[in-house]
Amino acid sequence: MTDLLDRLADVNPVPRCDPPSIDDVWRKLDAPADELAEGLPHDGRVGGRSPIPTRRGGLLRRGVRTLPALAGVAVCLVVVIVAVTGPRSHRAPSGGGGGAVHSGPGWNATDGRGPSLSALMAHFAVLRRPPTAADRAARRENAFGVGTAGKTEYPTFARHAGDANGIPIDFVVDADHRHGATGPVVSYSMSIGAGEEGLNYIEGNYTIFPTVVSTASGPQSSEYLSAVPDGVRTVTWRFACPTSARGCVLPAGRHTVSVPVRHNLAVYAVPRLNPGTFDADAVSVTWDRDDGTSTTFTDQNTAVPFAGAPAQPAGRTAPAQRYAAGNGPSAGEPLTYWRSRYGVFRRPQDARDRLAVAKAESAKTAPFVPSLTRVVLDTDHALVFITLGSVNPAAGVADRRYVATVWAAALPTGSMQWNDLTPGVQQPSDVILGSTGSIDYSVVPDDVTKVSWQYKCTGGCGEIPSSPLMLRAHSNVAYFIATPSGNTSWSVANVAWYLRGRTKPLRAEP
């Protein structure tokens, strides 16, 4: 006779099943970003209550002893109710917690997306600490742009890491949305805000090699700064002057500087740098860790602190100068130039890039043979990618110069077009999708966080918005799928690029 338990086992409704995705776990762990940002404890317990209740005693035995606990619970309930129903001015921007956060800790090196919030917070203790008034002020300071509804866009949260030479330095975390500003959150990005509005802007994507920041007004001063992950106690920078540079200023006249790390930040203040002089370049960086180990980086383009994380170059000029018309790489720029400005070139090649390489190589009209190819946009309808081609391929590696070309392939038709990637604020390009509309896109450097386009169309505009369209740039591209309802023509005007720390956007030349 069959045992009852065996018979029961035979009717097991789910004998086996596939494991679910861990994405949902990361999403839930990432979700309380604003709780963390606002200083609630992050010890895995909500309101001090264990998710697994402890064994209960008898009511009488618990009696009086539980009264203080009950009072505490009542207070917690009131706090929760107030928190839920009260003003939400401190909360993250909409969509920040509800979207599908890109899974897992660490950077995904294959798709060029940024890290998840948990991955960021896992590396930088300064992001995990409770916020202070200075942090809240930093969040306001690092707001940018004016949204479509006249609203200021705030970062998810910010941490004020310190001041050096009077220059405030903030860690700023933003959510990246899948479809510009409105889609679900797919990843997060972090930047380091330092300096004053319109100048001294710096976006430090996980800097290893230090960047120079200078004040423009008041007593002039500069500082070298670098973001450093947890576990690094001291950073040592070795500087050298470019051979062709005149008046190169070494920090404190020394070639080697050791800087203690505080709040994930290594900062070395320099009393004064004369305008027009060359700042000394750091040629090597050494991280000395708490556990006694050390790592030395000698190539700023290959130095990545974590798998897939982009390295940050040294030395940037102010955005107003960088994006001025005509101030660009028309005659070719070193590879470091492109890698320092377009994060897409700092990630490893993946399968999509190889597909794009094949497409670019098959185009006989290409101006230069592509040396480096990276996809910036891959939809069901279009593939947009950038290639770097050397203008002097016979030169030595160190002397080669590259121009960038933006390619767009319409997948349904197979048609391809290419344009030079020129500096400055650009009108969007488009990939015509036949009668269904077009994909309008614009390739932007790392420090452009959003772009604004004003569509103009007359009749049959379909889903083409009439108000200015604000799009978040992601993976060096901002795009919009324009779907008119009938035969009509439309154009884009009033193009603006928004950079963090700048209230006023940079606008395209009329």
């Binding site: 009717v11 679910p20 839930k28 317990r45 896992a122």
Partner: protein, 175 residues
């Protein structure tokens, strides 16, 4: 423990046990809620990773049991087991027709404690020691409870007209 280590450990835990936890949940709740339960369980595990024992599955199932209990309480839903399982659709196989349904209805007529105990052993495949850990009781207690649960299940089966073998003693029940 650093957060990055905690998450790395969670990934290992998830790889090893997520399927079992999901199956546990699927046997008790609809698929959508089951996936939600799984993620809840591993969120708890991440936050309490230091407390997860080396043999993690009973701990995780105990956690899943609590999460499900909260869900039941919260939604105030109490649907018959057969109906709950039928919601699962493609994951439910029905090879035995009426006998199978009778067995499930008999199981559903038991108290929650008896039912959970029988399912933990027959469906989750835990041996008595691990089932005791999952149900947070001693092994001796579990032996007695299991003996009684089997007897009650047999009685319930006879009530619906299906013969059942009731032969075990408490010690046999845990052998």
């Amino acid at each position: 423990m650093r957060d990055v280590d905690r998450r790395r450990q969670l990934e290992l835990l998830f790889d090893e046990h997520a399927a079992a936890v999901r199956a546990y949940a699927l046997r008790r709740i609809d698929p959508a809620s089951a996936d939600d339960t799984v993620s809840e369980v591993f969120v708890v595990a991440c936050r309490r990773i230091d407390e997860v024992p080396a043999d993690a599955l009973p701990w995780l199932l105990a956690c899943a049991r609590r999460v499900l209990a909260n869900q039941y309480r919260g939604a105030r839903r109490r649907v018959a087991l057969v109906d709950r399982l039928s919601v699962a659709g493609d994951v439910v196989t029905r090879p035995d027709g009426e006998d199978r349904e009778a067995l499930l209805r008999a199981l559903d007529s038991l108290s929650e404690g008896d039912r959970e105990l029988l399912m933990m052993i027959a469906w989750e495949g835990l041996d008595p020691a691990r089932a005791a850990a999952a149900l947070e009781c001693s092994r001796a207690t579990l032996a007695v409870r299991l003996h009684r649960a089997r007897r009650r299940l047999g009685a319930a089966l006879e009530e619906v007209g299906v013969s059942s073998p009731i032969t075990s003693t408490p010690m046999e029940a845990v052998k």
